[in-house]
């Protein structure tokens, strides 16, 4: 009997010693730091090769980059905006047309978690915490539009579907008699074949952000000077 007890004691001690000697593995460490939530990665692409071809796995790889313009037809990659029923004297609607609108943005990692804040009434409230990391920048690739133009509807075509390009312009020369002689001349190569418009925009670069953004709800109770 005594033997049995002593064996049990020895066994128990073994267990105890064993437990003490176990080091923290990676998994256990993860458990300690993990507070729920999720790490997110996001890529958004418009009218680029990446957007058109779902078999492409990332916006760039060793074979090349996939954040270049890709559109069946230029006239189909437009965004048009017509504020406040804007129209010409004949009642034809006018549109602000962003031609060849495109862009890819990617952020490899940002985190979503819950957090508790103390609000202005000194009450606890939950906020959505978005964390951004300096080494995981927001990659902006060829974001913008090639041309911005104002187009007006006519009887046949909506303004945003008008397909006019810079190819040739009328130039004149003066002949020996001093008379203007008109001829069609190619526009310079920079603009040749381009869609008509007055300005373009292209943003390309990395936006590094670091820190937490907390988003929480706020109820405008309509009291005092609050404007709601």
């Amino acid at each position: 009997m005594l033997n049995k007890i002593s064996i049990s004691v020895v066994l128990l001690m073994c267990c105890a010693t064993h437990a003490e000697l176990v080091g923290l593995d990676n998994g256990a460490l993860l458990d300690v730091t993990g507070q729920g939530g999720a790490d997110l990665s996001w890529t958004l692409s418009l009218n680029h090769r990446y957007a058109n071809d779902l078999s492409i796995k990332n916006i760039s790889d060793q074979q090349g980059v996939y954040y270049t313009y890709d559109c069946v037809s230029d006239v189909q990659c437009r965004f048009a905006f017509s504020p406040n029923n804007h129209a010409d004297a004949a009642g034809n609607q006018r549109w602000l047309v962003f031609k060849q609108i495109q862009g890819t943005i990617q952020v490899d990692k940002f985190s979503l978690a819950g957090s508790t804040i103390i609000n202005k009434d000194m009450m606890p409230q939950t906020a959505m915490k978005l964390s951004f990391f300096d080494d995981k920048p927001l990659k902006i690739r060829n974001l913008g539009f090639t041309n911005l133009s104002v187009e007006t509807d006519d009887a046949a075509t909506k303004g945003y579907l008008k397909d006019e390009k810079y190819n040739q312009y009328n130039a004149y020369t003066l002949n020996a008699q001093g008379t203007k002689v008109y001829s069609s001349v190619d526009v310079p190569t920079f603009d040749k074949g381009g869609e008509k418009g007055f300005m373009g925009l292209n943003v390309h670069g990395n936006l590094h952000m670091s820190g937490d953004l907390k988003i929480f709800s706020y109820n405008c109770a309509g009291t005092g000077t609050s404007r709601c």
Binding site: N26, L30, G37, L40, T43, N47, V75, F81, P124, A221
Partner: protein, 749 residues
């Protein structure tokens, strides 16, 4: 004389011998030998069974409507016979006379060539409709064991039931292609009561009549018999395993989705009767009053359901750790959902809890109720239907701009009505929020050993009502006409209310939950997502099986919903801050238990109405010995065409972002809207389940029929604001075409 004495002696000896034999005491050993001789044992062997027609007659329509299985063939596997055994025994128990029934059927294959909807009266619109084919095969014996303590049906005395349908295969076929439940398990062992009741019909329940005693139904996991990785020991699939595969080749089907449930459930109940009285009754929550408890509203149009039809229900509560019924032998409930096939991953959910964590603002008053699923009342009828009515709630009514809460929709042809099989669900609830989830791998690859962290997911559903009418319908796909399954579906969910049966606050939501321990050493229960989803879906069209995948066409699709984008803590949780950090308001303070009825957590609300027509192709993942989540994934391809605007006052399809402010004078609403959505949009979505990440890859084509020669139909919308109730147009916008792709990777921790 001598002869007579001798005979008498012999008789006496025989009698005495019997007497002494009768007196001999039986040992346990001999009893075990004897039992085989007790009761009835039937062994039956059959090589093949053919049934020309087996019809279920719905007497509600003077018996003219039938749902039948035609050309049924049942045969053994690999040319062997089907052996079935039935042992029947009656014996004395401490409660009375008990019954023991044990049945076993060796592996078999059953096929139903045609599932027919028949109507043989002169007034019928369609005499015969072929709804497709069915098949069932098993690889291990189907076993059934029932042991009662007092009679066969008894409300007050316990019975034990084992049912083992393991690694079976159930298929539904159209045009030679099958949607199959592979490795289907329905494996359970239950204690409870089996009885017949004049109102409820045939009932099996785990709870006693007084409700004080409950028992367990154990959904024991089943050994996986196919495609198991060599590193796996005792690889098992869930006790209820629904593993959907699709394709024409039965040996190489493609992978759709897998769902499963294992562990112990309690307060389970199954009932079956023919009472159709409740078919017309919809539960609904009246938003205008302060009492948010469900009330009944009856709809018209259900007069066809009379004497016939089936009415049944299934419900069960999910157990979690700490439930005293679990004891040492039973594991808590776990649910699984994810992709399937070789090399796939899924997510296992556990620590399932109902919406509210505490019953009051008292920190010690923890809610010990279980999460549960209640399929509500399910009605199956065959009928000739002209129109049906459907009850919607106030929020949906507002989105639809409907005049009343009762919508009417019509079948085709309107004058005579359509012969349909109608499946109706009333008040289905799934109130379960998983506070812990982890990634799991398919048995075909090595197990994931690293922990997945502390996070969970909740997709609770409250008061789901549905009418699904099925009939046969031909359709054309890529210029080829095929036979399909026609459908007409109306479905709704309730955002928030108090459940009539349980009295508990209930919601329809899609939320992620942080199940990690907070400052008070209990689950912090942060949630974020869409909550209180009021929705209504009405669609009719056809389902067809194509080589590429499952084709669903909606000739008329109307989908309206309102939801709140919110972040907060689940009702009844403790605010995750201490008095030291946040002052007295933080000291063990309980989040209001009616938190989901308040606006405190709401960032904004969204509402939308999509009205038009569309096509959807569910493309299953490829199977293969080297398949990975990059090659084996589920994808959805489709397109949607918005319904044309009928006039200047028609708001058409729209999307609203709404801000609701609670003031002393009441709630005011302001919104920014995209109205009069027009165009023809194409989309493709891929859902990739990886080892620790879910990737949602979505592509939208704004004008999907446009090409180099045609401008298609431009996507246009009207932007409007509604600062004080009146809609005011700000601008028109147009997107002429192009493609947008969003790739979102979610790695929980």
């Amino acid at each position: 004389m001598k002869k007579i004495i001798k005979l008498n002696l012999l008789t006496a000896c025989i009698l005495m011998a019997q007497q002494s034999f009768a007196l001999q005491q039986l040992t346990d050993q001999s009893l075990s030998v004897v039992t085989g001789q007790d009761g009835i044992s039937i062994t039956h062997e059959v090589s093949k069974i053919n049934i020309d027609q087996a019809n279920w007659v719905d007497y509600s329509d003077t018996g003219s409507m039938k749902l039948g299985m035609h050309n049924v063939e049942v045969k053994g596997v690999n040319n062997s016979t089907i052996k079935s055994t039935l042992d029947f025994d009656v014996g004395t128990t401490d409660r009375g006379t008990g019954v023991k029934i044990q049945a076993s059927i060796s592996p078999f294959q059953a096929t139903v060539e045609k599932l027919m909807l028949l109507c043989d009266a002169a007034t019928c619109t369609t005499a015969e409709q072929n709804l497709g084919s069915l098949s069932l095969s098993t690889t291990s014996p189907l076993k059934f064991y029932l042991e009662t303590t007092h009679g066969l049906f008894n409300r007050d005395d316990k019975a034990h039931l084992d049912f083992q349908l393991q690694n079976a295969s159930i298929g539904y076929g159209l045009n030679g292609k099958n949607l199959t439940l592979k490795d289907f398990n329905f494996n359970f062992s239950a204690d409870g009561y089996m009885y017949v009741d004049p109102n409820e019909g045939i009932v099996m329940t785990t709870k006693s009549r007084d409700g004080n005693t409950d028992h367990i139904v154990n959904l024991a996991r089943v050994a996986d018999s196919s495609d198991v990785d060599s590193s796996r020991v005792n690889a098992k699939n869930p006790g209820v395993n629904i593993d959907l595969r699709y394709g024409a080749d039965p040996d190489n089907q493609k992978n759709v989705i897998r769902m499963g449930a294992s562990g112990a459930v309690t307060n389970a109940k199954i009932f079956l009767n023919a009472n159709q009285a409740g078919l017309k009754d919809f539960n609904t929550v009246n938003r205008s009053g302060t009492d948010l408890t469900e009330t009944i509203k009856s709809a018209s149009g259900y007069g066809f359901a009379g004497a016939g039809g089936l009415h049944f229900g299934v419900s069960a509560e999910f157990t979690r750790e700490g439930n005293p019924l679990l004891g040492q032998n039973f594991a808590p409930t776990t649910l699984e959902i994810g992709h399937t096939g070789h090399g796939s991953y899924a997510i296992e959910f556990s620590n399932l809890s109902p919406l509210i964590i505490r019953n009051s603002t008292n920190a010690t008053n923890l809610n010990t109720r279980n999460a549960y699923i209640d399929f509500g009342d399910i009605y199956i009828n065959t009928a000739q239907v002209k129109s049906l009515n459907f009850i919607i709630n106030e929020n949906v009514k507002k989105i639809l701009g409907a005049a009343t809460n009762e919508l009417t929709y019509y079948m085709v042809p309107v004058d005579k009505g359509q012969n349909v099989a109608l499946i109706a669900i009333r008040s289905m609830d799934f109130q379960a929020i998983a506070r812990k989830a982890r990634f799991i791998s398919d048995n075909s690859i090595a197990e994931i050993t690293s922990p997945s962290g502390e996070w969970g997911l909740g997709i609770p559903i409250f008061n789901l009502n549905a009418n699904l009418a099925l009939f046969s319908k031909n359709y054309s796909y890529n210029g080829v006409t095929s036979a399909g399954l026609g459908y007409n579906l109306a479905m709704s969910t309730e955002g928030y209310g108090i459940d009539k049966k349980t009295g508990a606050p209930s919601t329809t939501s899609i939320i992620v939950v942080d199940g990690a321990k907070g400052v008070y050493n209990e689950e912090v229960n942060y949630y974020a997502g869409l909550r209180n989803i009021d929705s209504y879906l009405k669609s009719d069209g056809v389902i067809g099986f194509e080589d590429e995948g499952i084709y669903i066409r909606a000739d008329n699709l109307l989908f309206a919903a309102k939801a709140e984008i919110a972040i907060g803590q689940l009702p009844g949780s403790l605010y995750n801050c201490t008095a030291a950090t946040g002052g007295a308001n933080c000291d063990n303070k309980v989040v209001p238990i009616d938190n989901f009825a308040k606006k405190d957590d709401v960032l904004s609300s969204i509402a939308f109405k999509l009205d038009g027509q569309g096509e959807l192709l569910i493309v299953p993942g490829l199977n293969g010995p080297n398949a990975t989540p990059d090659s084996n994934y589920l994808s959805l391809k489709g397109n949607f065409k918005f319904k044309d605007i009928t006039g200047p006052t028609d708001r058409g399809s729209f999307l609203s972002i709404i801000n609701e402010d609670v003031k002393t004078t009441g709630t005011t609403e302001s919104s920014i809207n995209l109205n009069k959505l027009q165009g023809h949009i194409g989309f493709e979505s891929r859902i990739q389940m990886k080892q620790d990440t879910v990737v949602l890859d979505n592509q939208v084509k704004f004008n999907h029929l446009a090409n180099a020669n045609s401008q298609g139909k431009v996507f246009t919308a009207e932007m409007a604001m509604s600062p004080a109730g009146n809609m005011q147009k700000i601008a028109d916008l147009a997107i002429t075409g192009g493609a947008m792709r969003s790739t979102l990777g979610i790695t929980p921790r």
